[in-house]
Structure formats: C-alpha cells, structure tokens
C-alpha cells in the first residue's frame, strides 16, 4: 500500500518487511482497505441490495417510528437495519457516508500536508526573516481554537458555497502547523549537511537544492505524517457534522447520524452503534497503520533504548 520511497529498493524492502511483521500495522491496513472498498463499492452494494441511502421506508418502522424488528431492523435486505423516523437503509448510509468521510478527510490531509511541507521547507531552508514570520504564523494557527472557528465560519459562509469544499479548506488550512514544524527542523539540519553544502558550493540554485537534495530526505517523514494525520481530519469532519455544521442533509454523514442518534439512544441503540463503530474503526485503522509505519521507517525508535537516544532527529520534533 505505501508508496515506495525512491531510494534503493533494499531499503523499501526492509521497511515493508518490518511493517509486515507488525501485527497492529497489518490489522490497521486491513481496516483501511476495508473502508476504502466500502466507500468505492457503495454504488455496487446499493445495486445488489436495491437500497439507496435516500429512499424512505416507512413500512419498516414501528408505531413509535423506531425500526420494527430486532437490532434496529436488521434483515436480509437491510444488513445493518434501518434509520429510525425515515426507515432509510443504514448500510447504504454507512457506505455512502464512508465516501464523504474519506473524501473530505483525505483531501483535507492533502491540503494540510502541501501547505505544511511548503511552509516548513521555506522556513527551514531560507531562515532569517522568512523563518521568523512563518514560525510565528505556525504558532498562531497551531494554537488557534480550530473547532470554534470552523463552527463560526460554517454558520456564516453563504449556503451557495459547496459544503464539502468548505470543510476540506477549513480542516486542511488549520491542520498544517505540526507537519510544518517537523519539516522545518529536518530542513534546518539537512541544510548544514555536507551534500547540501556541496551542491550549494557548486552553484546549484536554491529551488533545485530543495527539490533534488532536501525533498528526497524528508519523504519518509512526509509519508508518516500524512498517514497519522488522516484520522484527525476524518474525525474533524465527523465532529463538525455531529455539531450540525458539516455536510448538509440528506448527504449521508457518520457524524450527523451519530448526532441524530442522541435522541434515539434508549429506544434504538443500534442507530448510534453502527455509524459510531464505522467512524471508530476507520480512525483506529489509520492510527494503527500510521504507528506501524512510523516505527518501520524510523528503526531507532524501535531498537534498543540507546539507539533512540543517539538519534538526534527524535528530539528535534519537540522543540
């Protein structure tokens, strides 16, 4: 699954084999693949079962408009039961909800990684006033009350602005400071290394040094950070939808389903548990895989304690 770093194949082999040996990482990868498949195949499942996430089925509800039957109305047609009040198929809602979650989560991650890497590279490589300004900006954004601001913004942005795009931008543009800090500190130390100074001494331009000499050396960090920051972005979309300022109904969203489930939790707990578990498992999957990837790409962390202490980079990220 992970993109092979453009280094001699022996190294990526060892990364992959180290990853293979980590059971949590493989379970995480399995969960991630499962949910990606669920999202991609949502229309296929929908065609097989004949259930659309928008179709109301009032005939499946009891007199109190909670699902009739056991476990929230689980049946051969409705694998996860149906939604209370509307009778919409919960499996269709979860699988189409996976599309929304993953799309917004991944796109927001791309935005934040792109901004974070750019800011970190420029601040670390050029130093001076650029570094001071960018580091200050990083500090401000890092400490900014993101959730509050996102709520405020989604309340005031005109309804004509596409919601998913707004969420991607808001989540992405607030999520970059941690990666910017790490990339900055890595660039700072790379800048002083022999091969970079040699390139500079040969008259290589700054842009070329960044692309040719520095970028390949921060690739592993970028891959790890991308992976470990995905679950946070997915969680942010779900949290905003939970608070009623995420994607608009009737577009399925796990966060909104969980929020709707508050008033049904006593009568129909399955309505909470099904989308809740989906959100939990996809987050857990990315976290476990990300942890494993970090250990696999950074063997010092994983080796004996002395090796970890000798690694100057492991302390660099904290400052």
């Amino acid at each position: 699954m992970p993109e092979d770093p453009p280094e001699p194949s022996r190294r990526s082999d060892t990364v992959w084999s180290r990853l293979r040996r980590s059971r949590p990482a493989m379970i995480g990868l399995g969960l991630v693949v499962l949910f990606i498949a669920l999202a991609v195949l949502a229309p296929v499942f929908s065609a097989i079962t004949g259930n659309s996430p928008y179709a109301y089925n009032p005939d499946l509800l009891g007199p109190d408009t909670s699902p009739a039957g056991h476990l929230g109305g689980v049946s051969p047609q409705h694998w996860f039961g149906v939604e209370p009040r509307t009778g919409r198929d919960l499996f269709a809602i979860v699988s189409y909800g996976a599309q929304v979650s993953l799309l917004i989560g991944l796109a927001a991650t791309v935005v934040s990684v792109a901004v974070g890497v750019a800011v970190g590279l420029v601040a670390g490589f050029y130093g001076g006033i650029a570094d001071r300004l960018l580091s200050r900006l990083t500090d401000i954004i890092f400490g900014f009350p993101f959730l509050i601001f996102a709520i405020a913004l989604s309340a005031t942005v005109p309804a004509s602005f596409p919601r998913p795009l707004l969420l991607i931008l808001v989540i992405g543009l607030f999520g970059w400071p941690s990666i910017a800090r790490v990339i900055r500190s890595e660039t700072l130390s790379l800048r002083e290394r022999g091969f970079v100074r040699a390139a500079a001494a040969q008259g290589t331009g700054s842009g070329r040094i960044i692309v040719r000499e520095i970028a390949p050396n921060i690739l592993a960090t970028v891959i790890v950070f991308t992976t470990v920051s995905i679950p946070g972005k997915i969680g942010a979309e779900a949290a905003l939808s939970f608070l009623g300022v995420g994607v608009n109904p009737p577009t399925p969203s796990w966060g909104r389903s969980i929020s709707d489930a508050i008033s049904w939790v006593q009568v129909d707990p399955m309505y909470l548990i099904v989308p809740g578990m989906a959100l939990f498992l996809v987050t857990l999957g990315f976290n476990m895989f990300g942890d494993g990837l970090r250990d696999a790409l950074d063997p010092a962390e994983h080796g004996n304690e002395n090796a970890a202490a000798a690694d100057p980079m492991s302390a660099g990220g904290q400052s």
Partner: protein, 332 residues
C-alpha cells in the same frame, strides 16, 4: 535577556497576536457577509429591527472606523447607538447580542462555571491518569501491562469523545441506571451532586485526552532512561525512586507543560461537543445556539474568547519554561 524583559516582550507579543486574530475575525465575519446587521439581528428578524441593528452597528461607516470601534470595544468598552437608546457594553466588550439583549461578555461569564467545571475537572483527571499510565508502561516495557495500556491508549485516541460519551450514557445512564445522563448542578448548591453529575463527562474526556499523555510520557521516558546520566545515577547506587523521580521525570516537565497548555487552550472546542452530548448549558452550547439562530455577535465573541484562552495558556506555558528548565534559563 533578564526575566522582566522576557516576560514583558512575551506578554506584548501575546497581546499583538490577539489583536491580529481579532482583526482577522472582524474581517471575516463583519466585512465578508453582504449585510452583517442581518447576521446580528437573530431569527426571526423584522425590517424595523434590522434597521435598528444597522444603526447600532454603524454598518454605513468606513470599514477602518468599524474595525477601530470593534477593537476599541475589547480594550475600553463601547457604546452602540447614541442618545436615549444607546446600549453600553463594558470592557472587554466581545460584542452585544441584539437577540438576547445582553452583552456577549456577560453571556459568556454566566455560562462559564459550567464549562470550567466540566473541562478543568476532566483536565486534572486526564493529566494525572495519562502521565501515570505512561510512567508505568515505560518502566514495564514489553510486558503485558505495557501492551494492554498502550492498546487502550490507541483506542482512546481513535474513539471520538461524543461516541464514548453516548456509549457511556447508554451503558451507565440507561442500561445500568447508576449515573445521571446529563444536566448540571451548581457547585455552590450541592458539591456532591455537582461532582456526581459530572463523573461521566469527566471520565469520557479523560479517556479520550489522557491517551496522548500516556503515549508522550512513555516515549519520552524510554528515551530518557537510555541516557548515560541515568546509567550513572543507577551506578552511583541511587534508589530507583530517585533515579526515575528526580533524574528521569524532570525531563518530561517541559514537553508535558507544552501539551497541557495546548490542551487547556483547546478545552473550549472540546467542550462544545461534550456539552452537547451531556446536555450541559455552557459556553459551547451558547455558541451552538448562536449558530442555529444566526447571532454573529455571539459567534464572534465566543471565537475571540476561545482565542484569548489559547493565547493566555500558551503565554503562561512560555513563561513557565524559564522557571522549569534550567537550560532555557541559562541560555536567556
């Protein structure tokens, strides 16, 4: 740089950042919408009322004058309108809700005890619990305890607080019926009931947030324990308590303070979610109510208030480093 100068420069820096954020909020929320008065009027909004709010806000004035009034209000207070109908808003004036006919500062202050009870109680619980869990696992590395606690930690990180909260409500509130499912009893009214009603929210927030402390503490401790001076301390025959407590833990003070400052700053954001789950009418609920009734004065006020908390928490953390870390003290 001596300490007084250092404190002064950091404090001025923090105030500047707050003013920049206030100006940015003003630009985004008062200049971008076609008619900010519409957003300040609440729902429903009659045309008479809209005209009244427009007069109060002075939307026809130049943008820099409005910005000056807005920033000036935070520092010295401001008066909306003039003559007999004037509304005065004391400093720090974060805005005035024409819908609720109350200053946003007063609204926040009246809701604050609930939010503080919720978040500070939980923060103590998660910091202590998380650090303890991290310490224990770092000392028992590779054992069953280690993998069990770290497994629990990644679960805690992955589960959203509202999901944990709702499952807690379902299990302890409805199924077992041993804990209240929400609501708030003021501390001054009945301390025992106050705590009883907050147990579930505290534990839920602690599980979700303590996991990060456990992981950070464990990682840092493992790194520290591999250092030469720890070996030296042990070789000198110091007791394990002194080695861990005095030579080991000391290294964690700065990263943990940083993390705690970030968390305290973010408490309000988390409170929005927790207050919704447990039906607590704190500052977070105030914000959500303002969103659904489109009361931008309250929305901007709460945003600024949250930003101020973040900046103050970071400032205090910054200042405390120079006390906590002798290396930083020496280099300044």
């Amino acid at each position: 740089m001596n300490r007084a100068k250092f404190i002064a420069s950091r404090t001025i820096g923090a105030i500047l950042v707050l003013l920049i954020i206030a100006a940015a909020c003003f630009a985004i929320f008062y200049l971008m919408p076609s008619n900010p008065a519409q957003y300040s009027c609440g729902k429903p909004c009659s045309s008479d009322r809209l005209a009244e709010v427009e007069r109060y806000l002075g939307v026809d004035q130049a943008w820099w004058k409005q910005l000056f009034d807005f920033l000036g209000g935070i520092v010295t207070g401001r008066t909306f309108g003039s003559g007999a109908a004037a509304i005065h808003c004391d400093a720090p004036c974060f805005g005035y809700s024409f819908r609720l006919r109350e200053s946003v500062t007063d609204l926040i202050v009246s809701r604050l005890p609930i939010t503080l009870s919720l978040t500070l109680g939980a923060a103590v619980l998660w910091a202590v619990g998380g650090i303890a869990a991290g310490l224990i696992t770092s000392l028992r590395r590779g054992t069953f305890t280690d993998s069990a606690v770290m497994g629990a930690a990644i679960t805690g990180i992955s589960a959203p607080t509202y999901l944990l909260g709702l499952l807690g409500v379902l299990l302890f509130g409805f199924t077992l019926n041993v804990l209240p499912i929400g609501g708030y009893i003021p501390l001054t009214e009945n301390p025992a009931m106050w705590a009883f009603h907050l147990i579930l929210p505290w534990v839920v927030l602690a599980i979700a947030n303590g996991a990060i402390y456990a992981r950070l503490t464990r990682g840092q401790m493992l790194e520290v324990l591999g250092q030469d001076y720890i070996r030296t301390a042990r070789a000198k025959g110091l007791s394990e308590t002194v080695v861990i407590g005095k030579h080991g833990l000391r290294n964690l003070v700065v990263p943990l303070t940083t993390l705690f400052a970030i968390d305290v700053g973010g408490l309000l954001g988390g409170a929005v979610i927790t207050e919704k789950v447990f039906a607590l009418g704190g500052v977070g609920t105030l914000l959500l109510e303002a969103v659904s009734s489109l009361d931008i004065q309250v929305i901007v006020g709460v945003t600024l208030f949250a930003a101020a908390i973040v900046i103050i928490a970071n400032l205090l953390a910054d200042l405390s480093y120079s006390l906590l870390d002798p290396r930083i003290r020496a280099s300044r």
